[in-house]
């Protein structure tokens, strides 16, 4: 039985009604360990019922930000508010949160039902309520038949479901997910991502802060994504918008594959919010604002937005030489050369694939192209 199969049950609505989430606000939060600042003046607001994914490479400060919300690290500066209340000085057990971590952290000597009941017992809930919540929560994650098992008798995916049920049972104000799927194999991870998305669709009031290094999990689940780099917020935005129009090179490259072509701004395009640029020999139109003429920028376009045939929509045209072509079943990956810069194309259907060395015309829509700052670290 899967999470999604269990979602139709009446118990889900009971969970949804009771699990009203709170908003979270980072107000100029910095965290330092032994003098080394690992989170620098983070200001960010997460709305009630919103899923915000924090992503970034190791050491970017994303886990530290989550641990600051949990109360496991104390900010050196700034305040953290949950539901409008300043929780910076509160102990973790006073914050009304729950967390799911990578290694599940189930209590090995307790049965599944005891694990799920743990938080309710700790909060002094009456016995009848505990029994009801345990049953509801296990039903939500599709694990009611495993209530008497010990964690060691479950698979990794099942243990993670129990961990989610344990977190949901206390009706947390905010659910903190710290790389919750990293320990699972790829296939189960994909399935669990979809199930968590479905869980949130059925529990829309639940506020979730999701920390991951996996951009595909963030893209699938998050309403908004915050990208951290070296302890600083590099970019934040609505998931689709941030993916299509990243504000800088780091965000473009961290959030999926991106083709980045050096370009020089020529001026505003006729359509508002677009600029005309020159990239090598080609004159192209891309989304962008406030770029002065003559400025050197990068033109960002995702591989799947580049086609080998033009039409009324795909009006930008560049000529490239094909270096490599790899057929991978559903997709064909092409690597081309545009004036020395590599350009990747992912095609779903390619009836007449070109050969290596061929000169190929590439097309993309101005709406799929963004002009961004080059913030590469030298």
């Amino acid at each position: 039985m899967t999470l999604s199969a269990a979602f139709t049950s009446a118990e889900v609505s009971a969970v949804a009604n009771a699990a009203a989430g709170s908003d979270v606000a980072f107000d100029n939060v910095s965290v330092a360990y032994r003098g080394a600042v690992v989170l620098k003046r983070l200001s960010l607001e997460i709305g009630a019922g919103e899923i915000v994914a924090m992503i970034g490479p190791s050491g970017s400060g994303k886990t530290t930000a989550l641990r600051a919300v949990a109360g496991f690290v104390r900010p050196t500066t700034g305040r953290i508010r949950i539901g409008g209340t300043d929780v910076t000085d509160l102990a973790p057990y006073e914050r009304g949160l729950a967390m799911v971590v990578q290694n599940y952290a189930l209590f090995p000597h307790m049965r599944v039902s005891e694990n799920v009941a743990f938080g309710l017992n700790a909060r002094g809930a009456p016995r009848e309520l505990i029994a009801q919540r345990v049953e509801e929560s296990l039903r939500v994650v599709g694990m009611p038949q495993y209530a008497r098992r010990f964690p060691r008798e479950l698979s990794g995916g099942q243990q993670q479901r129990v961990a989610i049920a344990r977190a949901l049972a206390v009706r947390p104000r905010v659910l903190l997910l710290d790389e919750p799927l990293s320990a699972l194999d790829a296939q189960i991870r994909r399935s669990m991502v979809e199930e968590i998305a479905k869980l949130h669709a059925d529990l829309p009031e639940l506020t979730i802060l999701y920390v991951t290094h996996d951009q595909s999990e963030a893209l699938t689940l998050a309403d908004r994504i915050a990208i951290l780099r070296d302890g600083e917020l590099s970019a934040i935005g609505r998931t689709g918008e941030l993916y299509r129009h990243p504000p800088n090179r780091f965000s473009a490259e961290f959030l999926g594959r991106a083709n980045l072509l050096p370009a020089v701004v020529e001026g505003e395009a006729q359509q508002s919010g677009f600029v005309v640029v020159r990239a090598g020999e080609a004159r192209l139109v891309a989304a962008g604002r406030d770029h002065p003429p003559g400025a050197r920028r990068l033109l960002c376009v995702r591989p799947q937005n580049v086609t080998l045939g033009g039409d009324a929509e795909h009006t930008n045209r560049i000529v490239a030489a094909l270096r490599e072509i790899h057929w991978q079943g559903e997709l064909t990956h092409l690597v081309l050369d545009v004036d020395g810069a590599p350009v990747r194309v992912v095609a779903t259907r390619l009836p007449h694939p070109p050969s290596r060395g061929d000169r190929v015309e590439l097309f993309f829509s101005p709406a799929d192209a963004s002009l961004i700052e080059d913030d590469a670290v030298v």
Partner: protein, 285 residues
């Protein structure tokens, strides 16, 4: 075909591989079993070498033996409870709420394992004895005629010395067990609303149960057989089984009684060891 092959009888093998166990068994028998047999034999025969069961029974039914058995059990239990309480508290602080220098303090406590037991007892005499530092300060400071602290020469003195000596034997396995407790479990529990005491009771102690049983059992075994501390303190009326064996053998030259009591002491130790092994196996230690 494969079934037919599988059903074929194995060819007889004449190997000496199993005989490797003989030399260590012989050494064990010579060093441990033979002396034990001699003691058991001496417990049953008198000085003339004749079987004398009534003498052995008389020794074991004597008031002195029963008092020693009771003293041994009381002191061992009290010392073990003291060691467990102190060791648990120290291990929890060192592992989960370390203060600056905690590691150094833990190492200093650990070195007590290397010290001879009489050294601690000697130090206690200097500290809490009639003419010790504490009594000296109190008699001088308060203008008293007699030293007010006199617990050292009672069972409490023995218990305090044993707690001091044997707490590291509990502390060490507990520290090892606590270092293996998944910190994520503690964090998740805390966020779910559990306060520190609940986390200790419901998460940490169950995780460390095998170490608690192992440390406690070891402590009980060592305190049951403790001889040096009891002898050195010389507390009035505090005679334990090992001390009674010493008294019977050395002071009274009653070897049959000494051996009979020694056999009970050994049986008690082996029973405790068996219980420890049983508990450890059940708990997966």
């Amino acid at each position: 075909m494969s079934e037919a092959i599988a059903l074929l009888p194995r060819p007889a093998r004449h190997s000496l591989a199993g005989w490797w166990i003989a030399p260590p068994l012989l050494v064990l028998a010579a060093l441990f079993l033979y002396p034990l047999i001699l003691i058991a034999r001496a417990a049953l025969v008198d000085d003339a070498g004749l079987l004398n069961l009534p003498a052995a029974v008389e020794a074991l039914a004597s008031r002195a033996f029963l008092n020693a058995l009771l003293n041994t059990a009381e002191i061992a239990l009290a010392s073990t409870i003291g060691c467990m309480t102190l060791g648990l508290a120290l291990a929890l602080v060192f592992a989960f709420a370390p203060f600056p220098g905690a590691r150094f303090v833990a190492q200093v406590i650990d070195t007590f394992i290397a010290l001879p037991t009489f050294l601690v007892t000697l130090a206690f005499t200097f500290l809490y004895g009639s003419a010790g530092a504490l009594n000296g300060a109190l008699t001088q400071g308060l203008g008293l005629d007699h030293p007010p602290v006199d617990f050292l020469y009672t069972a409490w003195g023995v218990i305090l010395a044993e707690v001091t000596v044997y707490t590291p034997f509990v502390l060490r396995p507990l520290m090892a067990a606590f270092s293996l407790v998944d910190r994520h479990q503690l964090e998740v529990a805390s966020l779910l609303g559990a306060r520190p005491l609940r986390i200790v009771r419901h998460i940490i102690l169950p995780a460390a149960l095998p170490a608690i049983v192992a440390g406690g059992s070891l402590c009980l075994l060592l305190t049951v057989n403790e001889f040096g501390i009891v002898l050195f303190i010389g507390a009035k009326g505090v005679i334990t089984l090992p001390l009674l064996v010493y008294d019977k053998a050395i002071q009274e030259a009653d070897y049959q009684a000494a051996c009979a009591i020694a056999i009970v002491n050994v049986a008690l130790s082996l029973t405790l060891f068996g219980l420890y092994r049983f508990a450890a196996r059940r708990l997966g230690a």
